[in-house]
Amino acid sequence: MAKILIIAEHDGGVLSPNTAKTVACAADIDGAEIDVVVLSDSVAAVAADASKLDSVSRVLTLENDANKHALAAILAPQIASLADGYSHVLGSSTTSGKDLMPRVAALLGVCQISDIMSVEGSHAFKRPIYAGNAIVSVEAPEDQPVVATVRIASYRAVGSENAAPIEAAEIAVELPTHTRFVELRSGASDRPDLQTAAKVVSGGRALGSSENFDLIYNLADKLGAAVGASRAAVDAGYVSNDMQVGQTGKIIAPDLYVAVGISGAIQHITGIKDAGTIVAINKDQDAAIFEVADIGLVGDLFKILPELSDAL
């Protein structure tokens, strides 16, 4: 039997949809008994969200003022202490999960598995390497806990019809003071969240300026889509870093992905491989993006985008 602990991801008030996807991965492990732990300075709302997730047996809470911001150095010793008795400890493969889980693994003295994309057995998994150009099957030792992150683009969220019990967990660990939160600068917008949106429109370097990115925003708003960007567009300063899609940005799996003025570097393709339908609009008919596109349109984006927005 597998006893699994999942670290809830949240913004202080709302549980991230990524956690429901991590639960879906855990539920693929035979005989999974799944607990979700919420670490926060105020756990109630997030714990209530987590208790609704299907397949979850129990929600544990660790309420502490020190947990106000998800600092890995503060959270990891608490999770390592709570991990006793669990066969698996899982987090999402997001920047917060990637920051946290290796620190947890090292405290437990075990290796960590990054980006699980499928479960092949209780200790056997598949994960992408080389920017997704190869898939490797890995086996973790059976005599140690498995600590891993879950590639959320590979999973669909579990339902939320459950009412799992919520319990305050008790641990006694001393927390470090060497790491302090200063601020979060967030490009908050009313558009759908890039990581979980059903539709995404992304722009590349060919947009030429941040002003021209309005063409992308207009199209996205017509489609009800989130907005992303290629690394080149972020590097050029057209948009902020949290919009980057690709190997070192966000890995996403929307139903519809529209790539505008994006050439299609391997590193970008890695981030969109699991999209349902990929639409590419590019003036260069030899652009690599057309190799992976389901629907391709060669032409001038400055002409096509206004036309397309009007047609919608």
């Binding site: 890995a72 090292a106 898939i135 690394r231």
Partner: protein
């Protein structure tokens, strides 16, 4: 601070399109161009800039692997590192082993900062920096896009999913760097000549006396599922029709 340790991993160059071997035993690396992991190069550039500002006196580049990694360390020395350490091993060490190696080196060298790339572009793990920070019981500032030193602390801006997070850490600390931290300098020919004279110590992994991890074994490799080649449309009307056919608009 006196010293900064920088990790340089030898990896398949980022421009190479990696292919899985026909027998699934690994990926094709014969005759393939090898380079410093691009994120590690950014880590080194940042360490050099810190030293050039007078906030550190020595930059030491470290690699773990076969003697082939001398090549990447020499490049690091040519960029401006002061000396190099190669921990030699024939096996590809896992991230926990790498973290234990760096932990041992922190005991020997007593650095104020250890700077690593946020991930290596071969295994895409993103683990070593975080693991080292845990074992060392020191702060970690991962995915850094700006590093400001102020006496015994560093203020680091981190690229996170929600935007940019700023944290303050006490030194010594481990920093893993992201793409937009800086643009690494180009190596000039005279620097390559000079680098040949800089010290490069080789230490067998076995001599460090570190605990072997129960590693996660890589069993087999396969190529990813290919996407089917799609259709081309001539104009916006054609695109709209194709989107409607799929129920997407």
């Amino acid at each position: 601070m006196e010293k900064i340790l920088v990790g340089l991993k030898r990896v398949v160059d980022y421009n190479v399109r990696v292919r899985v071997k026909a027998d699934g035993s690994g990926v094709e690396t014969d005759g393939v161009k090898m380079s410093i992991n691009p994120f590690d190069e950014i880590a080194l550039e940042e360490a050099l800039r810190i030293r050039e500002k007078g906030d550190a006196s020595e930059v030491i580049v470290v690699s773990i692997g076969t003697s082939d990694a001398q090549q990447q360390l020499r490049t690091g020395l040519a960029m401006g590192a002061d000396r190099a350490i190669l921990i030699t091993t024939e096996d590809a060490p896992d991230a926990l082993t790498c973290a234990r190696v760096f932990l041992e080196l922190t005991k020997r060298e007593n650095p104020g900062l250890v700077m690593l790339g946020k991930q290596a572009i071969d295994n895409d793990n993103s683990q070593t920096a975080q693991m080292l920070a845990a074992l060392w019981d020191r702060p970690q500032a991962t995915f850094a896009s700006e590093v400001l030193l102020d006496g015994d602390t560093a203020r680091v801006t981190r690229e996170v999913d929600a935007g940019l997070e700023v944290i303050e850490v006490d030194l010594p600390a481990v920093i893993s760097v992201d793409l937009r931290l800086n643009e690494p300098r180009y190596v000039k020919l005279p620097d390559i000549m000079k680098a040949k004279k800089k010290p490069l110590d080789e230490i067998p992994l076995a001599d460090l006396g570190i605990e072997a991890s129960h590693t996660v074994r890589q069993i087999s490799f396969e190529a990813p599922a290919e996407r089917q080649k799609g259709i081309m449309v001539d104009d916006v009307a054609g695109l709209m029709t194709a989107l409607r056919d799929r129920g997407l608009v």
